[in-house]
């Protein structure tokens, strides 16, 4: 019984590090492909669950039975489900998400147009969240039980308890309607709109590249409030997580050893403890980024930010299922890609995952 297993393990030893690495990469690629397949299956099922008749959505009110049957066949609805699924897979692989019933564009083109706006917002927000949240959590942990810790925890607690659409609305009420410090919505002032059509689609970057300072400042002005709010939500989560990671490290014996050796507080915290939480931090920053896409859907709706979130909610409002599924699939794909990226970065940061 145990003989084949023995040879198997010894073979694995003979393969050495290279074979092991290849096997690991192969298994993670396989895992990602199955996740991807499942993702597509899920969106396919959701698409088939819609109560509305897709044929009626195309034909409108005036049609006869012949036209109905023709469109029904054109959509492939007369074929068995697994065939429909395969043709769905084929079209997705060709980046064909169908046509939007509202904008009359292909969903893929629409997504390419709106996605950079969301990416710009999300990147800025995760930067704000990381730069503020991680140090806050670490300081909270180091100064555990003091007023600094309590204050930090309260700020974080409010951040992940508050409904972000409500925070956004209140910010608009106070800072736009009453104080008039921030603009009312959108990405730039109306008279700056369309001045810069850049290579990245991220307006701040494009304006900078083109040297259009007025557009640049207008864009910065517009992105500040939504990015800060999203960043606050990410910060709340990240400071809570980094606090608990740091507390766990500070209770370890190697920290006690370092203290006994007479090492100062700063090297203990940053050179010893922090090094050991980097990998965990990377994981939660990834999770925070994915969670941020959730918040972006709501914040974009509140601030009239013409990104993926607003596109998704508008599509929901008009029951434009192709657009909804395309946007949802894109968000799922982004999450998978980010997770994959973290997996790769792990191998560089954490020597334990290499062996």
């Amino acid at each position: 019984m145990s003989n084949p297993e023995l040879t198997k393990t010894s073979m694995r030893d003979d393969d050495g590090v290279l074979g092991d690495a290849i096997r690991k990469i192969a298994s993670s690629v396989a895992a990602i492909l199955t996740t991807l397949f499942g993702l597509l299956l899920l969106t396919f099922i959701i698409g088939r669950m819609i109560p509305a008749d897709p044929v009626l959505a195309i034909l409108g009110d005036n049609f006869d039975q012949v036209a109905y049957d023709r469109v029904y066949a054109e959509l492939g609805l007369d074929r068995p489900l697994y065939e429909q699924f395969f043709s769905y897979l084929q079209s997705i692989l060709q980046f064909d998400f169908g046509q939007s019933n509202v904008t009359r564009n292909s969903v893929a083109a629409d997504l390419a147009r709106v996605f950079p706006a969301t990416l710009e917002l999300a990147i800025l927000a995760i930067l704000i969240g990381t730069v503020m949240g991680v140090p806050l959590g670490i300081i909270s942990a180091v100064k555990r039980g003091t007023w600094v810790d309590h204050l930090g925890r309260i700020v974080a607690l409010l951040g992940y308890s508050a409904p972000i659409f409500w925070l956004g609305t209140m910010v608009i009420l106070i800072f736009y309607a009453n104080l008039q410090i921030i603009p009312g919505g959108g990405r730039v002032d109306l008279y700056n709109d369309g001045l810069v059509v850049g290579p990245t689609g991220m307006l701040i970057l494009d304006a900078l590249l083109a040297g259009e300072w007025e557009v640049f400042w207008s864009a910065v002005h517009h992105i500040t409030a939504p990015a800060l709010l999203l960043g606050y939500a990410a910060m709340a989560y990240l400071s809570r997580m980094s606090r608990s990671f740091m507390l766990e490290q500070l209770n370890q014996e190697y920290i006690l050893t370092a203290r006994a050796k007479g090492l100062g507080e700063r090297p203990i915290v940053w050179k010893h403890a922090f090094r050991n939480i980097r990998v965990q931090l990377l994981t939660v920053i990834t999770l925070a980024f994915c969670g941020l896409l959730d918040g972006a859907v709501l914040i974009e709706t509140v601030f009239g930010w013409p990104g993926l979130g607003q596109y998704l909610t508008a599509a929901l409002f008009y029951a434009d299922m192709n657009a909804v599924l395309g946007a949802v699939l894109l968000i799922g794909l982004i999450s998978i890609c980010i997770n994959l990226l973290t997996d790769v970065v792990y191998r560089f940061v954490d020597p334990r995952t290499r062996s």
């Binding site: 959701i46 409904p163 959730d294 998704l312």
Partner: protein
């Protein structure tokens, strides 16, 4: 050697030299409660949750008006002694709608939790205890669900199922179960090789018996904590769906939808948006504090 029972009930509870299993259990519960009540924040959270439950249960007595009665002559009135939180665009009393909205909020949160708990237990315990290809398949499935941010997945499902409160419950439940299953699996892995499980296996206990008699009870504390903390995020997701018009449908009162409708009158009637939002914040804050407090007591290794 028993003292007079009336005066020493507390002493009986605190005495750890037990004379009966009932006393041991009572002692455990009492000591846990004492430790919990020493945490003022967690206690505050509990108070808010209890108030929420009472408001939902006794809504007809707590509310001052009928939440659905419209009176266009009294539309958009600011907070006053007759309408404590003002009136909305149709002249309905915001305070009364808020009180009835507590029912919607609790209904969603409890129903989702009741659906998700057993699914998480079964999937997680099966994956962790049985292992092998069942583990692989189940964990792949949770991975797929985890690949979506929760609100986006809930949005997609409620778009497909159509708006409405029951569909919102199903949509949210579909997004909440994977982390619970993951947690149960991780916990199960830590004691699937424990002596008491092996002993039960040697006695010929069936797989379901081992899972439900030996493994599930041991996972229960951490799952209860997770579900309590989850309540906060369920409430936020439900409010988000309501805000986007996919949750409870008008005219039934739902806090997220109330805040969304109030946005149209933001400049004239700030209370329409501000007050429902504050209610959501308060309740989700309370569940977070309660969950943190429970974790400190029941799960000392994460304290």
């Amino acid at each position: 050697m028993s003292a007079t029972p009336k005066t020493s009930f507390k002493a009986w509870l605190l005495n750890d030299d037990f004379s009966s299993p009932a006393q041991a259990r009572a002692h455990q519960a009492y000591v846990t409660w004492l430790r919990f009540s020493m945490n003022p924040l967690a206690l505050g959270g509990l108070v808010v949750v209890v108030l929420l439950v009472l408001a939902a249960w006794l809504a007809p007595f707590v509310a001052t008006h009928n939440p659905l009665t419209q009176d266009l002559t009294r539309a958009l009135l600011p907070p006053s002694s007759t309408n404590w939180f003002g009136t909305d665009e149709l002249g309905r009393d915001v305070y009364s709608r808020l009180v009835y909205g507590a029912r919607t909020t609790l209904y969603i949160a409890i129903l989702v939790t009741v659906i998700v708990g057993p699914i998480g237990f079964i999937v997680g315990a099966a994956a962790g205890y049985i292992g092998g290809w069942i583990d692989t398949v189940l964990m792949r499935v949770t991975d797929i669900f985890l690949a979506f941010p929760s609100l986006v997945l809930a949005l997609a499902f409620s778009a497909a199922l159509g708006p409405g409160i029951e569909n919102a419950v199903i949509a949210i439940a579909l997004t909440v179960w994977p982390p619970v299953a993951r947690l149960v699996r991780a916990e199960t892995l830590t004691f699937r090789k424990a002596d008491f499980v092996v002993a039960a296996e040697l006695q010929g206990a069936s797989v379901p018996r081992i899972m439900f008699r030996y493994i599930v009870p041991l996972c229960a504390p951490s799952v209860v904590i997770r579900l309590t903390l989850n309540m906060a995020s369920i409430i936020l997701t439900a409010a988000g769906l309501g805000f986007l018009g996919l949750g409870a449908q008008p005219p039934s009162p739902e806090w997220g939808a109330m805040a969304a409708q109030g946005r149209q009158y933001l400049l004239d009637a700030w209370w329409l948006t501000a007050i429902p939002g504050m209610a959501i914040l308060l309740v989700s804050l309370a569940f977070n504090l309660l969950g943190d407090g429970l974790r400190d007591i029941l799960d000392p290794k994460h304290a």
